[in-house]
Symmetry: C2
Subunit: 346 residues, 2 copies
DNA sequence: TGGTCTTACTCAAACGTTTTCGTGTTGAAA
DNA sequence: TTTCAACACGAAAACGTTTGAGTAAGACCA
């Protein structure tokens, strides 16, 4: 087992100084051609690679970015990561991942763990618990230490940093408009409680679309699902609510759900009750993932372009790190949504 | 903006030496109680945290592990990562991610990028292209430099390192046995070409199960799908093959597919052709993911316990790093599979 | 008074780099 | 012969930390 070779070892072996070796390897004209080629040959032979840690310490930059997300077993987040990774790699950066599991404490710990020199900046999506507690001290501290943050999707408006978001309201509006234009008149909405920001915005989009088409919104057509750590329980509860809704509101001919799973759940129940999709009821979901694509029938969705979000986030962060953008100037990039028409719409 | 405070700054401020500060913070009895409390108070006030990079350089360990996987937008891999992350975090390690995108070159680049001091060891699942080329020099070099590797799922047998695998053969056998025992007599197999190791093993399990139940395997019931970078194309081609198969082999009453997507595809076609699931045809898929769980009807699957794989991999790697296990001794852990019966089996 | 012990510190090296500033040796121009 | 630039290299500092060795001052004992 041959351990990694260092400048010092090469220097000793070739009977020159460390500085000479370093300069020779960087092809400095300070060093004679003769020595240069000797050193380079030796380095190649022993497969010399500069030690990243030493470089990081010297340069005060790690060329690594930290990503903190609520969960990774999640189509949207893993797509965002793949976008981040792609852009980061292109620009010579590594990506280090921390999972908050939607927990405030884990988010804080992860940030503190990484903020002590391990990384140059953060890309993150805020945990639900943090949004609920509204305790953002860890973000402020990080930014105060001069470490840039880019927030994506779940952002905190009051924090001064770069942000990448999707236009949730407009996306929902597009979806509901599509339903209306294809003939739906009684459109149910399956959303989350209002404290989840994206749920709230998507609900607003729904309402605006109705308004623009002169349709009176009916509170009885709206289900606000209670989120639960235990997804099984959450979905079971929701199933009962949807079932009751379909029993009571026979006129429903369209459903807009704020995520795939809610949409699939609704579709399952509707099919069980004998409705034909999309003839009797059309369905659109926010968030495009594997579930929608491969459901039977396949779900029409609003795509959030997660990969693009990741790429944009990485671009913004790295631009800031490399001082290509003004340090004190923060932007919010809005990523477009796209309606993907599949088999649950007419 | 107050930058991170260092030992040197504290020392200067308090007019003592750097070593005194360092020792005071670690509560060394070498330092007077008086000085200790003064230093500690100051450090707390200025929120001093030791610089990880400097520590890494000094200690020659980064407390970070590198994970290289073929893709991240993939239920199985993201679950494994969540397992790795959980265990790693519990033991004070960070996780840095590299994606190979199934490409040999990207795998090599990622490994080289991380092997130069950024991490203490690797957990990885080999890219398909690497398996095809059978070029493993990058693994050998890494191991040779004294950096431990744990391979999971897609492993290379000839390389001496720790491994974590699922018993693909046994898992398939369980699935096919279940189909036979519930009355299926003509079971189709949808698998991949043999060069994909897991595809091959799962095919073997299918054959063994048939043999043990005295059923003559028929080559005409087996589809070996050609993998394609473009999943759309791959699935379209497969659809045609499955369609043709169902037309030709009317007796088929069971289908075993080596992954979710193949199973879902087969189910879609069967339903379209008017078969009732599971009454006319039972279906089981290898790999348990969201698709299976939320398909309509929900798919019976063989679960691979991905989170457990991740945890085990991390445990093995960290144990080796912390010299809790013999450096020269390598184990292969086999993770059990479980049959999850849902609505596509009787 | 001289010696030893304890206390409470400081020094310096080390981890692996890069880079600035010196410095000794040539060779050539004046 | 002197002067000076060019050349080729080395020494040392710096990044932030830890730690063994060294040291000054005072206390204690004989």
């Amino acid at each position: 087992m041959k351990r990694k070779v260092t400048l010092k070892q090469i220097a000793k072996e070739l009977d020159v100084s460390v500085s000479t070796v370093s300069k020779a390897l960087r092809n400095s004209k300070e060093i004679s051609l003769d020595t240069r080629s000797k050193v380079q040959a030796f380095a190649k032979l022993y497969n010399y690679r500069p030690n990243n840690i030493a470089l990081s310490l010297k340069n005060k930059r790690t060329k690594t970015i930290g990503v903190i997300i609520p969960e990774i077993v999640h189509h949207f987040f893993s797509k965002v990561i793949s976008g981040i990774e792609k852009e980061a790699n292109n620009r010579g950066y590594n990506v280090i991942i921390g999972l908050s599991n939607e927990s405030f404490d884990k988010e804080v710990i992860n940030i503190e763990m990484l903020a002590n020199g391990s990384i140059d900046g953060f890309i993150l999506s805020v945990a639900k618990e943090t949004l609920l507690l509204q305790d953002y001290h860890h973000f402020y501290e990080t930014i105060n230490q001069g470490m840039p943050i880019v927030m994506f999707d779940r952002v905190v408006n009051e924090i001064a940093c770069d942000k990448v978001v999707v236009d949730d309201k407009l996306g929902s509006k597009k979806a509901v408009a599509k339903l209306i234009e294809s003939g739906c008149e009684n459109i149910a909405l399956i959303t989350t409680k209002d404290y989840v920001n994206v749920g709230k915005l998507r609900t607003q989009g729904y309402l605006e679309a109705l308004e623009e088409h002169k349709i009176e919104p009916k509170a009885s057509l709206i289900i606000k699902a209670e989120e639960n750590k235990d997804k099984e329980v959450e979905i079971e509860t929701l199933e009962k609510e949807i079932s009751a809704l379909l029993e009571k509101e026979k006129a429903i001919d369209g459903i807009f759900a704020v995520n795939e799973l809610y949409a699939i759940t609704a579709m399952k129940i509707a099919i069980n009750k004998g409705y034909k999709i999309p003839e009797d009821i059309s369905i659109i979901a926010f968030t495009d993932g594997v579930l929608s694509k491969h459901a039977i029938p396949s779900l029409s969705t609003i795509s959030q372009h997660a990969v693009e979000m990741g790429e944009k986030s990485a671009t913004m962060l790295i631009d800031k790190l490399e001082e290509l953008t003004d340090e004190e100037e923060y932007q919010t990039q809005v990523i477009n949504t796209t309606l993907i028409e599949r088999d649950t719409t007419r």
